[in-house]
Each structure stands twice: as structure tokens, then as C-alpha cells.
């Protein structure tokens, strides 16, 4: 399309460019600035230097607790979810009957995903007299205090997100199905066992997808809000008080916008550092074949 002005493409991009500036770049910079201020919406922001951050890391025990449970939550939920999604995808990848039925059944919970109706349902399932405890009783276990006990509450939310492993699984399954079958035949002729085949052929070929799922699930898990907000309200004893909940309450309940921005930036920094580590390490474990896209 040689006759066109070289700026024609930018015309089509103009909504994006405006949106990027107004709704992303500007707020991004503003939130960084706000994190160094005291701002309660009543008067103009007052620049206070690193005071918010000093307070966060020296005297704010709620923050310390919240940061800890967030890290525990992410580092349990993400690996468990990915491992389970991959495990099921591998089973579904065998030539099985009803594969479409199973794929759909496993995907439905993910589709309803963040809906608060699902969080509501979770409260009923895991209630003291709910069907989960009934099931445990039926096979001879003591009932578990899922939400009332600080040691279990966070895990109950992890279970909710594990139940939604479907979207990661569908992505894994698509990757597994795209692997060239002749590679497996070659491996079997060479006498490779199932585990060797999986480890040396399947795994390297799906590392780009593992990487993609890892980043996406991690960024998402760090921002978990609906689960704890509806199911436990952050309790008991702040054991499910994830950072997004803390940010929400500081910003929109106590209207302490400066302090909330500082917490948001700490959360952002953690996500960034982990993403950068993942990208950097991916050189060593992610395998890109000639035309693989990811």
C-alpha cells in the first residue's frame, strides 16, 4: 500500500494511543507520584518523600502480614494449578472417547471464574455443615473448620482457584496436540520409555506454553480480590488479607490514596521482579523451535 501516507497506520492506532496515554501511562506515572504523598481526597496531595514506604516496612504490621499471606497464596496456588492443569491435559491428550465432554466439563468452572456467585457457592460448600465436610465425614474424617481457622482459610481460597484450572489446561492441551507425532514414533523406535519420552520430548516442546501460563497465572494470582473479599473478608486474623484487599480498603474505605498507592507499587515491584526473573531464566529452560510462536 505504497501510495498511503506513512502515518496512515497511526490513524487506525489513534484510539489505542489516546487510551494508552490517558488510561494507562498517565495513571501509571500518577500512582508512582502519589505513593510519595499524603492524599486523603479532601485537600491537595502533600509530598512526603519516602515516608509511606518507611512506614510500610518498619511499623505497619498489617502490611507485613498481608505481604506474607500474598506470597504464600501465590507460591502455593500457581504451581499447584499449573501442575494439575498439565497433568489433566496430558491424560486428555491420549486418544480417548468423550474428550470433548471432559474438556468442556473441566473448562466450565474457569468460565464462571471470577464471578462472585461462585465465591458465594464456595462459602456454602465449605461451610461447617456444608457438603465438603459431609463428604469428609462419609469417608471417616473429622470435619474441617475451613474458614474459621487461620491455618485453613487461605487454602480454601487456593482450592477455589485450583478448581478453575480449566483455562490453563485448554492452553496446555492445544500445545500438546500440536506436537508432531513422528517425534513420539522416533522415540519409541529408539526404545524410550514413557517417562523418558515425556521428559525429553513433550516437556521441552511445551515450555513456551508453560512459561506463558506461569506469567499469566502469577500476575493474576497477585491480584486476587473477589475470593477473599466475598468468602472470608480477609479474615480470620487477617489470614486471607491479600494485598489487593488491603489496597482496596486503604484507597476506597479510608481514602488514604497516597498510602494505598505505595502498597500498590510494592505489589507491582514484586510482580515485576518475578516477571523479569522468569523472562531472564526462560533463556535456560524455554525451548523455541523454528516456527513456534508463544
Amino acid at each position: 500500500m505504497s501510495g498511503d501516507s506513512r502515518f496512515l497506520g497511526l490513524v487506525y492506532l489513534s484510539p489505542y494511543i489516546i487510551g494508552l496515554l490517558v488510561f494507562t501511562a498517565l495513571p501509571f506515572a500518577a500512582s508512582f507520584y502519589l505513593s510519595f504523598t499524603d492524599y486523603n481526597l479532601m485537600s491537595a496531595p502533600v509530598f512526603t518523600g519516602i515516608e509511606n514506604y518507611v512506614k510500610l516496612f518498619t511499623s505497619d504490621r498489617t502490611f507485613r502480614k498481608s505481604l506474607w499471606v500474598t506470597l504464600v497464596y501465590v507460591f502455593t496456588t500457581v504451581p499447584l494449578k499449573l501442575a494439575f492443569a498439565l497433568f489433566i491435559a496430558v491424560i486428555l491428550n491420549y486418544k480417548l472417547k468423550f474428550i470433548n465432554f471432559f474438556r468442556t466439563a473441566f473448562y466450565v468452572p474457569s468460565i464462571l471464574g471470577g464471578s462472585i456467585a461462585i465465591a458465594v457457592m464456595w462459602r456454602y460448600l465449605f461451610a461447617d455443615v456444608g457438603i465438603v465436610n459431609m463428604g469428609l465425614a462419609a469417608i471417616g474424617f473429622e470435619p474441617v473448620n475451613w474458614f474459621g481457622d487461620p491455618t485453613n482459610a487461605l487454602f480454601t481460597i487456593t482450592l477455589l482457584r485450583l478448581w478453575q484450572f480449566g483455562s490453563a489446561m485448554v492452553i496446555f492441551l492445544a500445545a500438546l496436540q500440536s506436537i508432531d507425532k513422528s517425534l513420539y514414533e522416533a522415540a519409541s523406535i529408539d526404545g524410550a520409555g514413557k517417562f523418558a519420552t515425556f521428559w525429553h520430548i513433550t516437556m521441552p516442546l511445551i515450555t513456551p506454553v508453560i512459561f506463558f501460563n506461569l506469567i499469566m497465572q502469577m500476575v493474576q494470582a497477585f491480584q486476587e480480590f473477589n475470593g477473599p473479599y466475598i468468602i472470608t473478608q480477609g479474615g480470620p486474623l487477617k489470614s486471607t488479607y491479600l494485598l489487593p484487599l488491603y489496597i482496596y480498603e486503604e484507597a476506597f474505605k479510608r481514602f488514604d490514596m497516597g498510602y494505598a498507592s505505595a502498597i500498590a507499587w510494592v505489589l507491582f515491584a514484586i510482580i515485576m521482579v518475578l516477571t523479569v526473573i522468569a523472562f531472564w531464566s526462560s533463556r535456560h529452560w524455554v525451548y523455541y523451535a523454528g516456527d513456534k510462536r508463544s
Binding site: M1, R6, F7, L8, G9, L10, Y12, L13, P15, Y16, I18, G19, F23, T24, P27, F28, A30, S31, I91, L96, R103, F106, V108, P109, I111, L112, G114, S115, I116, A117, I118, M121, Y124, L125, V129, M134, G135, A138, W163, S167, V170, I171, A174, F212, N213, M216, V219, F222, F225, N226, Y229, I247, A251, M257, A260, S261, A264, W265, L267, R293
Partner: protein
């Protein structure tokens, strides 16, 4: 050849048969294991939803009385009472509000993302690389970091307690994921037809409208469906921006009914939960293909 076959000792045949048998047995065992795992996982996946639907038709006294999902004394009291809500409005009003949020948002998303993806996939212009990199960066940027200033911006614009903060960013191709997905899709479509049309004197926007959009339709349907699901499920957005009950979408209305009635009327909450997820469930089952394709092609959060 026949000679050779005849000279084969009988024992070898038997051995081969035994090996085959053992193989078949192993296959049956592993198939049973696989189906066992799949069925039990499927049960765990679906039973909560089946229970939810069943329990919404139970009287309150029955909800925690047993693990079965079939009500002994079925009742629609939960639906009738839940629909009335404890506010001056019925749940119908909240559904209407939800659609008032969802539909313009989908339209804005589809139009803006198509134009932007077309720009990225078919044109060269200064700064393209940086802009595309910014798209990927936005994809990874956690919303949590921009939320507070966005709120302040919308407050200064006087948009609080309206649907505008929920509509407008999407109308500016704010959902980078969809742009990315459409760009990927467009790159895979050959340009011959577009170039032929250009030679015949069509303008770029005519090409976009009459050639690219029809080719892009399956991908656009995926975009609309995902946006529908995500917006239906969105809770934090309305929670921050919508404060009057008469503008509540169902997600906020459900939260409100938990706060006001959960202590005693469980079936009401469950019934309204079922209604809340129904649109998403129906759309999913009707258009499943597009979801699976969309998610497999681009990879998706969720």
C-alpha cells in the same frame, strides 16, 4: 514364504500371543486409570454447580441437611423472594443494569480493537515497534497499579456513579489482550484480496470494513464472548465506581443481598447466584467452540 511360516515353531506364536495379551491388559488397565481420573475430576468440577442449582430449589431447612442435590420438597420460594430483593428494585432491574454495562462495552471493544489490530497488522509507520512493545507491556501490567489514579481521573471528570468509567477505557482499545489476539489472527490471513481491492481503488477503511472484518468475524466473536464473560463477572469495577443501588449490576446486587439476608435465607442467595451465572453458562454452551478456539489460539487469562 509359506515355507518359512510353516517352519516357525509353535512356541514362538504362543509367546507372541502372550506378549500381545499382556500388552492389551496393560492398555486396559491404563485406560481404566485414565477414565477413572477423568471421571472423578469431572465429578469434582461439576458437582458443586449441580448442587448449587439443586439447592436453590430447596427450602432453607433442607440446604445443609444432606449432600444430595435433589430437593425433597422442591420450592421456588428462593427465586420468588430473591427476585424481590430487599431493595425497592427487583433483580430484573439489576440484570438490566448489567446489560447496560456489558453491551456498550462489547461494542466499543470490538470496534476499537479491530481498528487498532488492523493498524498494527497491515501498516508500517514510525514508532510501530515501540507501540507494539507497549501493547505487550500493558498486557502484563497489573491493573492494581493504575486503579487509584484512574479513579481520581474519573472523579475529576464527574463520572463517578455512572457507567462511563466501565465503558470508556474499553472503547479506546484498553483491553490489550484482545488487540493482541486480533493482530495474531490478522497476521495469519493472506493479504491478496486486500491488495487487489486497493489496486481497484478501494480506500483502506473500505478494505477494513468489507474485506478484513468479514474474514475476522470468528476472532471477533471470540473477543465479544470473552468481553461478555469478563464484564458479567467483573466485581471490583462496579464496586469502586457504582454507588447508587438503582445502578447496581447483578454482581453488586448479589453482594448486597448476602449482606442483608444471608443469616437466615440461604435459598434466596443460592437462587440469585444461579441466576447470576446463568447468562454466562448459556452463552458458553451455545458458543463453546469460539471459547476453546480463542483460548487455544491466543492463550488467555482466567
Amino acid at each position: 514364504m509359506t515355507d518359512h511360516a510353516l517352519s516357525t515353531p509353535l512356541s514362538v506364536d504362543r509367546e507372541a500371543e502372550q506378549i500381545l495379551k499382556a500388552q492389551r491388559r496393560r492398555q486396559i488397565i491404563s485406560a481404566t486409570l485414565r477414565y477413572g481420573v477423568l471421571f472423578s475430576v469431572g465429578l469434582v468440577m461439576l458437582y458443586p454447580l449441580i448442587w448449587l442449582i439443586g439447592a436453590s430449589f430447596k427450602p432453607n431447612s433442607e440446604i445443609f441437611a444432606g449432600a444430595g442435590f435433589i430437593p425433597h420438597e422442591g420450592t421456588v420460594a428462593g427465586y420468588v423472594n430473591g427476585w424481590q430483593t430487599s431493595t425497592p428494585y427487583t433483580f430484573g432491574r439489576f440484570f438490566w443494569n448489567t446489560f447496560l454495562i456489558v453491551i456498550p462495552k462489547i461494542i466499543g471493544t470490538a470496534i476499537s480493537c479491530t481498528a487498532v489490530a488492523y493498524g498494527f497488522a497491515r501498516f508500517d509507520f514510525p514508532g510501530k515497534k515501540i507501540l507494539f512493545a507497549s501493547l505487550i507491556a500493558t498486557l502484563l501490567l497489573p491493573n492494581v497499579v493504575t486503579r487509584i489514579p484512574q479513579y481520581l481521573l474519573f472523579r475529576d471528570l464527574g463520572w463517578l456513579d455512572s457507567f462511563l468509567p466501565l465503558w470508556v477505557p474499553s472503547a479506546f482499545a484498553g483491553d490489550a489482550f484482545f488487540v493482541f489476539m486480533l493482530v495474531q489472527f490478522l497476521r495469519a490471513i493472506p493479504r491478496d484480496m486486500e491488495e487487489a481491492a486497493r489496486v481497484d481503488g478501494a480506500s483502506t477503511w473500505q478494505v477494513l470494513l468489507f474485506i478484513v472484518v468479514p474474514l475476522l468475524t470468528p476472532a471477533l466473536i471470540s473477543v465479544c464472548l470473552f468481553q461478555f464473560m469478563w464484564t458479567m463477572n467483573d466485581f471490583l469495577g462496579p464496586l469502586i465506581y457504582i454507588s447508587s443501588v438503582d445502578k447496581f449490576p447483578v454482581s453488586l446486587a448479589l453482594k448486597l443481598s448476602i449482606d442483608t439476608t444471608e443469616a437466615f435465607e440461604w435459598n434466596r442467595i443460592l437462587a440469585m447466584s444461579v441466576l447470576t451465572i446463568m447468562p454466562a453458562l448459556i452463552v458458553f454452551f451455545v458458543a463453546q467452540k469460539y471459547f476453546i478456539e480463542g483460548i487455544s489460539a491466543g492463550g488467555v487469562k482466567g
